[in-house]
Amino acid sequence: MKFIYTILILLAVTLSAGAQGINFEHSSLEEAIKKAKDENKILFIDGYAVWCGPCKKMASTVFKDEEVGQFFDEHLIALKVDVERGEGPMIKSRYGITALPGYVFIDGDGLVVYRFGAYMQKDAFMKEVKLALEYANDSNSVGRYAERYVTEKNDEKFVRKYLDILARSQSTNYTEVLEHYLSIQTTMKETDKEMVEFLAQHYQEIVFGGIADEIVQRNLGSEIWKLYVRKDVRAKFQKLPRSMVEKTTDYAILKKDTTILDIALDRAVEAGVKRSDETRKRAYTYYYLNAGEGEKYKAMVHDDIVNYINSLNIEQLREAYLDNLKRREEGDVQALATRPYAFREAQTITGLVNSYSKFVVSEEEKSEVVAWMKTAYDLLPGDATTMSDYANILYLFGNDKAKAIEIKEEAYEIALNDTKDHGKSTGILADIELMKSGEKITVF
């Protein structure tokens, strides 16, 4: 077993050294920032996940390109970050990586200069990279403005410039700056074309109950706004109702304020969402989970999880799954086209357990989540993903870490033989390394 890993790692090292393209650092974030400062360069972070297809496509095409590699050697320090492991989750939340692949540019002071994302062709990618370098050099970086904002927030012109840069650098979570600006600005009237376009530009930051919301409510659909709400601006206002529900929920979490969440719920009803205890409960569950209110979260979902798992007919689901496997091997086309229910149930359990595990404290809770996850494990014998997920929970909360590693290694073997791997094996291997060195792993 060990032998195989050594070969794999050796192989990986030789490959990356031999290939021309971006040379990614093998260091911590802190070291990478220091290196950037010392060499007077900008740090490029490639946030990826092992299961993310576009990330892999980027890594095997654009990042391998010789020209791209040369440009990066000259101007940038590059760091690859698995957003689900090690420092990854921290980096993801600190620098606001919301979609994958997500690219962030950071200057020597650790301040964000620019960010963008998604798979793209070389030319489009390089255009964005050069833009990032341009922004880094003209002292108008988002990070610098964020620092200045603390002392200059009453300078209307400055805040407007800051907002422009926030939008330009595709920043998120700046609702407060937007609302603050609207409360002090004196240049735009509500009925001005400029106001309509300004709100459209920042529509993703508009929350229920704020000044922007009031302006939109008062004017959307009025004769004068109809003149300006056209084409792309109109497209943004069409997205607004939904965006506001999501944004306000996130804003409530950020502010740790359930009254904001209640406003979001009420307004969602006005926008056509059915009012029900179910919806309310779902929103609160999401809120407690993300606001880190563990005790309330657990109290809200514990019984539901128990009831849900008890309602499953494990044996029957497993038999159907095994039967499907057997028929697939025989080449039964109908079996190939159906996905046994056991998958859906196991996924649901994994999701519930992974969220719950963030707040597990007592011994009783530990053995409870292990038992829950065991149900998923029992549903899909031989399924690499579920085995790996079970091993994670066992490693974090069980008494037998060796057993966890054993199951994880078994899952790895199975994943290796899976033709539709989707990066599963790479992820499992990375986890095994962490487990063996006794480090913490993260579940999602």
């Binding site: 056209r230 084409k231 792309d232 497209a235 007919n313 044996e315 029957q316 086309v333 109908q334």
Partner: protein, 446 residues
């Protein structure tokens, strides 16, 4: 393993028991005719609830299993309605025709005089079914039952507010208030025609606009302004709206059985600027026009020329060769195993062109039989086509059925039964046409 079987058995028994028990408390459907149900409803001052279903309709089965046996549903429906189930292809055929039922399930509420009060289509859940009962009762008591509304509209009520309400109600009932929308657009004072609200109204009601209507006129007159407002997605929608208007005209021609609309459709479609349009389809619509206009002599001539040309275009051997080659090419390069993929492959096994020709003969010859077959020579012509069609795909049932229907019209009942039976034997067990053919065979034997 043995234990598992026991558990499964126990589980099945349990399910059966639970269902059996709850069934008794669900809707009690009466085994009486619609006429009897109406009489009973009148006497008890209730409405009749009809579940129009067919044996092959899966959502219908879903309601029968999951909704009608529900206790709450049962309590409400047994209290307020006389409940009947009608197989739209068997005992409910006449009623389905009378109330224009084409979609299954159709859930309909009639008053004691047989007037439609409320209807809904498609399967509903338990809460949806309860809501339906409330809506039906409300529609009756508010005086806005479906038939009341229609009567009011047909008696010429063209008050702006009434029309608007009527339109939205009809759309809710899945009706096509094409004329009412036209009436409303002509008189409405609510929305300026170049306004974004009108653009949205037209896009929302795209299904109900036809060639020559007010909606079309407004669209073309304000198209540039709308395009100046539209988002990227809406630009495409507006372009598609022009196309939808033409296509709707055709659909309305069939729905209203209107030769004028069909003529309008064909003429517009000929001029429509689109290279993708399939001109050969126009031939079918020209023939449908003749049927709608009841120009049967003309249809006889056109159909004869058409089917003769189909027959003589290619030899049977050539068709077989071409079809086999196409099948091979499809299976090797394009086929992907999936439910749809498998079904398509199975179809192609019969032969692509052979199937296409069978369908053409079946469609054209069937109308020929219904409207044109009178003299002996007409039948001779017809059987010539059927003979040819029977050779195309010998194990397809359609030609045998057609032959049976022709024989029946000629009064040769014995032979008609014989061919109906042959047809039935060729129809797979799980096919949705089976129950219809079974019923027809039964009727023949009477």
């Amino acid at each position: 393993m043995k234990d598992l079987k026991k558990i499964i058995l126990l589980f099945t028994v349990l399910v059966f028991f639970v269902q059996g028990k709850s069934f008794a408390q669900g809707i009690e459907f009466e085994h009486i005719s619609l006429e009897e149900a109406l009489e009973k409803a009148k006497a008890e001052d209730k409405m009749v609830f009809i579940d129009f279903y067919t044996v092959w309709c899966a959502p219908c089965k879903g309601m029968t299993k999951g909704v009608f046996p529900n206790e709450k549903v049962g309590t409400v429906y047994n209290r307020d309605f006389i409940n009947v189930k009608l197989d739209a292809e068997k005992e409910g055929r006449e009623a389905a025709r009378k109330y224009n039922v084409h979609v299954y399930p159709t859930l309909m509420f009639l008053n004691g005089d047989g007037e439609m009060v409320y209807k809904a289509t498609g399967a509903k859940g338990i809460s949806g079914t309860l809501q339906m009962a409330t809506d039906a009762v409300n529609a009756l008591s508010s005086g806005y039952s479906l038939s009341d509304l229609k009567k009011q509209y047909e008696s010429g009520n063209n008050d702006e507010r009434f029309l608007k309400m009527y339109i939205e109600k009809m759309i809710g009932y899945k009706e096509y208030p094409v004329a009412a929308i036209d009436d409303w657009l002509k008189i409405q004072t609510e929305i300026k025609e170049d306004d974004v609200d009108m653009m949205e109204y037209l896009m929302e009601h795209f299904k109900y606009l036809i060639v020559g209507g007010k909606g079309e006129a407004i669209l073309y007159a304000n198209f540039d302004e709308y395009m100046d407002i539209a988002t990227k997605a809406e630009e495409t929608k507006l372009e598609n709206l022009k196309y939808a208007i033409v296509k709707n005209t055709r659909e309305q021609a069939y729905m209203q059985k209107s030769p004028e609309l069909m003529r309008l459709y064909i003429d517009t479609w000929k001029k429509y600027p689109d290279d993708k349009k399939n001109v050969s389809d126009l031939k079918d619509y020209e023939m449908d026009y003749l049927l709608l206009a009841k120009e049967y002599d003309e249809y006889r001539k056109v159909a004869t020329v058409y089917l003769d040309s189909v027959m003589n275009a290619k030899s049977l051997e050539q068709i077989r060769l071409d079809d086999a080659a196409y099948y091979k090419e499809y299976k090797e390069t394009r086929y992907r195993p999936s439910l749809m993929g498998n079904a398509k492959l199975k179809e192609l096994e019969k032969g692509r062109e052979a199937l296409e020709q069978t369908n053409i003969i079946n469609r054209v010859a069937r109308y020929y039989l219904r409207y044109c077959a009178e003299k002996k020579s007409d039948y001779k012509q017809l059987y010539k086509w059927i003979d040819y069609g029977s050779e195309l795909i010998p194990d397809d049932y359609k030609m045998d059925e057609l032959r049976s229907d022709a024989l029946k019209k000629q009064g040769k009942i014995e032979e008609a039964i014989e061919y109906k039976e042959i047809a039935l034997n060729k129809i797979p067990e799980n096919s949705r046409v089976r129950s219809r053919v079974e019923k027809e065979l039964e009727d023949l034997k009477k």
